[in-house]
């Protein structure tokens, strides 16, 4: 029989949260030509056992969530990025070179329990 898992409200469940990184906030606008910032996002939220079957989870997260119910000393599965994408950056270095480069895994597209 399914073990009654504590009810978790939707907004607390693991999902992607918006996070726009504005390079001006970091003082990097003085050397980054473009973009002015980018939507990086982040993952946050609970991974209760009841949701691991639907929350884009991995098998071991399922087992970990199951074991957490049996023995709470075992930590819950955690909310992590499951799909990431790159960004391109145009910036100037200390030798006045203009550089165009892509950086992998800078934007969180999807989250899941891992």
């Amino acid at each position: 029989a399914a073990i009654p898992a504590p009810y978790a409200s939707c907004k607390n469940l693991c999902h992607r949260h918006q996070l726009f990184i504005n390079f001006r906030d970091l003082g990097w606008h003085k050397w980054i030509i473009a973009p002015k910032g980018f939507m990086a996002n982040y993952c946050h939220g609970d991974c209760p056992f009841s949701m691991t079957t639907s929350l884009n989870s991995s098998n071991y997260a399922f087992m970990q969530a199951l074991m957490h119910v049996v023995d709470p000393a075992i930590p819950q599965a955690v909310c992590i990025p499951t799909k990431l994408s790159p960004i391109s950056m145009l910036y100037q270095d200390n030798d006045d070179n203009v550089i165009l480069r892509h950086y992998e895994d800078m934007v969180v597209d999807e989250c899941g329990c891992g």
């Binding site: 973009p35 391109s88 165009l100 480069r101 950086y103």
Partner: protein, 230 residues
């Protein structure tokens, strides 16, 4: 934040936070490549981050190096119609040893390509500087000449493929002594308009702008196996 910033700066392949005095002009091609990548990221289209389709070469990093050379003046110009001589120097130290050069394109911008600035035909010569300058000798001894061509003026931007030269410089930093650019006026016989040599050369010196566009491939980010698969 300082510490974490340093980590991110290293991640960017830099050793410290850049503090440029003024932004260099960004060439059209780099803006276009950047905008194409932004558009692809927005639509979620798959991108091959190891190939620069706009230039048709494998690569993951583009760099535009400004010329750090200087004009050379010597009384005994080799020829009466010699207009300008410039040492062109590009600092390749930003390129890591593990990076492979896949493109090195020299751009010589001779000024606006408009016919309001009609000028005489020019002759352009590019030579490698293969010996360090000797004290007291104004003009470095030109080595192998690899470009000699006539250029109707105004001409806009001229491009030259420097891949072999840049690879040699990248493999052996001491060899990078720059290039010698010489420009002669081929006279005004064709146009029939009398040109004042000095004015022409002064205008050319003012408008000349040289830069080197480099594309490199980082084998750690772009293993050649994926290249073959593609």
């Amino acid at each position: 934040l300082q510490f974490r910033e340093h980590v991110f700066i290293q991640f960017l392949g830099l050793d410290k936070v850049p503090s440029p005095q003024k932004f260099q002009p960004v060439p059209y091609i780099m803006k276009k490549i950047f905008q194409d990548q932004e558009a692809a990221a927005t639509t979620g289209a798959s991108q091959d981050l190891c190939y620069v389709k706009e230039l048709g070469v494998p690569g993951s990093v583009l760099r535009l190096l400004p010329d750090q050379g200087f004009f050379l003046y010597s009384e005994n110009f080799s020829q009466a119609s010699s207009c300008l001589q410039k040492l062109l120097y590009f600092n390749l130290s930003a390129i890591k040893d593990k990076e492979q050069l896949t493109m090195a394109r020299l751009g010589l911008d001779l000024g606006p390509n408009t016919y309001y600035n009609l000028g005489p035909e020019l002759e352009l010569a590019l030579s490698l500087v293969q010996e360090p300058p000797v004290w007291g000798r104004f003009i470095p001894k030109p080595g192998k000449m690899f470009v000699l061509q006539s250029v109707p003026w105004p001409q806009g931007v001229l491009y030259f493929n420097l891949l072999d030269v840049a690879k040699d410089w990248h493999d052996n930093h001491q060899k990078n002594l720059g290039l010698l650019l010489e420009m002669l006026v081929k006279g005004d016989r064709d146009t029939g308009v009398n040109f004042q040599l000095e004015d022409i050369c002064a205008r050319l010196r003012r408008s000349l702008h040289a830069s080197l566009l480099l594309v490199t491939l980082n084998p750690e980010q772009c293993p050649t196996s994926s290249r073959k698969r593609r």
